[in-house]
Amino acid sequence: MADTSLPRRGVLAAGAGLVAGLHAPAVFGQATTTLRCAFWDHWVPTGNGALRQLCGQWGERNRVNVQLDFINTTGNQLQLTAAAQAQSRSGHDIISLSPWDVGTYADQLEPVDDVMNRLIAKYGPANQVAEYLAKHRGGWRAIPATSGTQNKPALCRFDLLQEHAGLDVRAMWPAENRKGPGADDWTWETFLRAAEACHRANVPFGLPMGQFTDAVDWVGALFASYGARVTDERGNPTIRNNQQLRQVMDYAVRLARFLPNDVWAWDDASNNRALISGRSALVFNPPSAWAVAKRDAPQVAEKCWTIPMPSGPQGRFLAYLPWNSGIWSFGRNKTAAKNLLEFLTERDSAEATTNTSNGYDIPPFATMSDFKVWETEGPPVGTLYNYPLKPHHDARPSIAFAPAPAELASQMYIQALNTKVIARVAQGGETIEQALGWLEREINNMRRG
């Protein structure tokens, strides 16, 4: 038998060649790195298209193979994926995180201050709520995303409000950078009178009061506009002798009388259905309800108009629900991940994302509130003009339970303490003091451990 053994030098040379080959710069344009991303699966059917296209472009340019998984939030699949990956310290490089998950996984997320500082230098300060949610212990732990981020202004049936409440919302909030007559009177008290009128006319406002995000968000903005905070920045309850809290509770209980009697069980789709079916004159929602109406009930869609939320004694607030993109600290390709996220947040990319979602997605920078899509979408043309927060709205973005520390706020938010405390009075028959006592005990309990 012939001697087939390799000489030692030969083996070493072959090994060195193999190692060099593996690390050689890519030639002929092949991708050398694979970046795995778990993005939120968009409600809008075409919504994922922009991310797919942008990631494809970026991957080609940087010779990175970008693998995209779109994971939906039905059954909290995305949240479960994040929890599982954080526990096992393995998984995707980039993951979409729901508003409070950045705080939950802050210690396992790669700091992205370098990226955010460059973006802020270019586009100005980021949305305050986005900053509150994505910045922890002084550093950015995630990048506020455009895809999936939404505002929840008032989506009105202008014909019904005109007919039953005497409000010409299109004149009050025209599709221009100015307020119209009556816009300054668009307060929660005006809103209450309109709610009563529409309730009498059998087209009540469709305001959910359950435990889903639409309910928690609009009630959060209502509380903010009364200056009603349940905790301070350190998480200490501020419920005792808090007159603003009592004032807003009293208002919410009065308002609840003019809502459909089943709003306590409404989910995030119930208000959409109420509007689309023509049974409701107003909901607080992103334009998804209008977009579905455009397809299924065009006679409803063409009478919809988006306007800011009403203002309260402490000003006007707009419910804002952002998504964030985090990079796991145990990820393999952190530099590439940062580059991709920076690219996706650039103005052109953000505009492409918003355009693809028919105006649904809200970028995290105020300087990006002038995309053409919000002017041109219709019918009626201009219906989405006031969907992004614009300077003439004199409004601030809000998320319920801010400025509590994220760890506490997330628990209060997920457990919908603000809608429950109202429900205990309006539905459960408790006094405001009893309900607030319960609220304080819940918060104290959440702070322990």
Binding site: G75, N76, Q79, L80, A83, W100, D101, G103, T104, D107, G210, Q211, F212, P260, N261, D262, V263, W264, A265, W266, D267, S270, R273, A274, S277, R279, E407, S410, Q411, I414, Q415, K420, A423, R424, Q427, G428, W438, R441, E442, N445, R448, G449
Partner: protein
């Protein structure tokens, strides 16, 4: 044994080169060793999929929220001081006990009805009645949700035909609780039915004949023949269902999400809300383990009773 005989027969031939069997060889020949090796895959599965997750859940429940420090039973103490969690305990017990009793009664009644149908037509009815149990509960609950849906309930639509005012099935405390129980009973009763039907079929006809000769009434036949003969199967079915119903998640999650005002939460749905959604995994683990000791004690006594009765029958 054949193998030993072969070795004994071959011994003179190989005697000069034979060496005494090693300890390992002796062990390998033992029946207990072989039995252990054969059960090893099962033990590995049980260890990996039952014991390890359970032990890990217990460990998690002893950590603080950030999972950085051991706090012993503090999570359980915190939970017991919480108004909402005390309500969840009450609701879980109300939900599980009411649903299991209703499932057992309906299952028993259905099994009796089926038992008296001629065997030719029985198969069709049996198949139809099993349908709710065969459909994945998340899917069937979605169907129920459409019927109960707050604004466009099809049940309310039917009621409206008879001028009955709309019922807030999921929006009002007691209606929401009843709705959750209705769906659970609808889903679980066929399981009781099929188990009880099998038990009924195994009761010897001679016992009924003897009872007839003694002039027993229908109630006496049920009380003194059927029920004693079914006692074991009733115990095991109720125990099994109680555990599964206490751990129910999908029905509450799909139908009410725990609302209104947390008034329909059960342990599993509340554990998910506290643990995964609110990011407090240790406390969520504590919620999910809360009933474990009580259910373990119930299971111990029920299984012991079954064993004793089995021995009595055997003797």
């Amino acid at each position: 044994m054949a193998s030993d005989a072969t070795i004994a027969h071959a011994a003179p031939v190989i005697a000069p080169r034979a060496t005494p069997p090693t300890t390992l060889q002796k062990m390998a020949r033992r029946r207990s060793t072989i039995a252990f090796l054969l059960t090893l895959p099962l033990l590995a599965v049980i260890g990996g999929l039952v014991a390890w997750p359970a032990a890990y859940a217990i460990y998690l429940s002893t950590l603080n929220r950030r999972m950085t420090a051991f706090i012993g039973l503090e999570n359980y103490a915190i939970l017991l001081e919480n108004d909402t969690f005390r309500m969840v305990i009450w609701q879980s017990c109300f939900f599980a006990i009411t649903a299991v009793i209703l499932k057992a009664l309906i299952g028993f009644w259905l099994a009796h009805m089926l038992h008296h149908i001629p065997s030719k037509g029985q198969r069709v009815w049996r198949g139809m009645l099993l349908v709710p149990w065969v459909i994945p509960p998340a899917l069937s609950t979605l169907g129920w949700w459409w019927m109960f849906e707050p604004s466009y309930s099809s049940i309310n639509w039917l009621l409206a035909i008879f001028s009955v005012p709309p019922v807030p099935w999921l929006g009002e405390m007691w209606w929401a609780r009843i709705s959750v129980i209705i769906v659970n009973v609808w889903y679980g009763a066929p399981f009781f039915m099929i188990m009880y039907l099998a038990a009924l079929k195994s009761v010897p006809d001679q016992l009924y004949e003897a009872a007839d000769i003694d002039g027993a009434t229908g109630w006496q036949r049920l009380r003194y023949v059927t029920l004693p003969m079914m006692r074991n199967i009733i115990s095991i079915t109720v125990l099994f269902s109680l555990i599964v119903t206490f751990a129910n998640y999908d029905i509450v999650r799909v139908l009410t999400n725990g609302g209104p005002r947390d008034l329909t939460h059960v342990f599993a749905s509340y554990a998910f809300q506290v643990g995964v959604l609110s990011g407090n995994i240790p406390r969520g683990a504590a919620v999910s383990l809360f009933m474990f000791p009580l259910l373990a004690v119930i299971a111990f006594f029920v299984l012991r009773g079954i064993n004793e009765r089995t021995k009595e029958i055997g003797a």
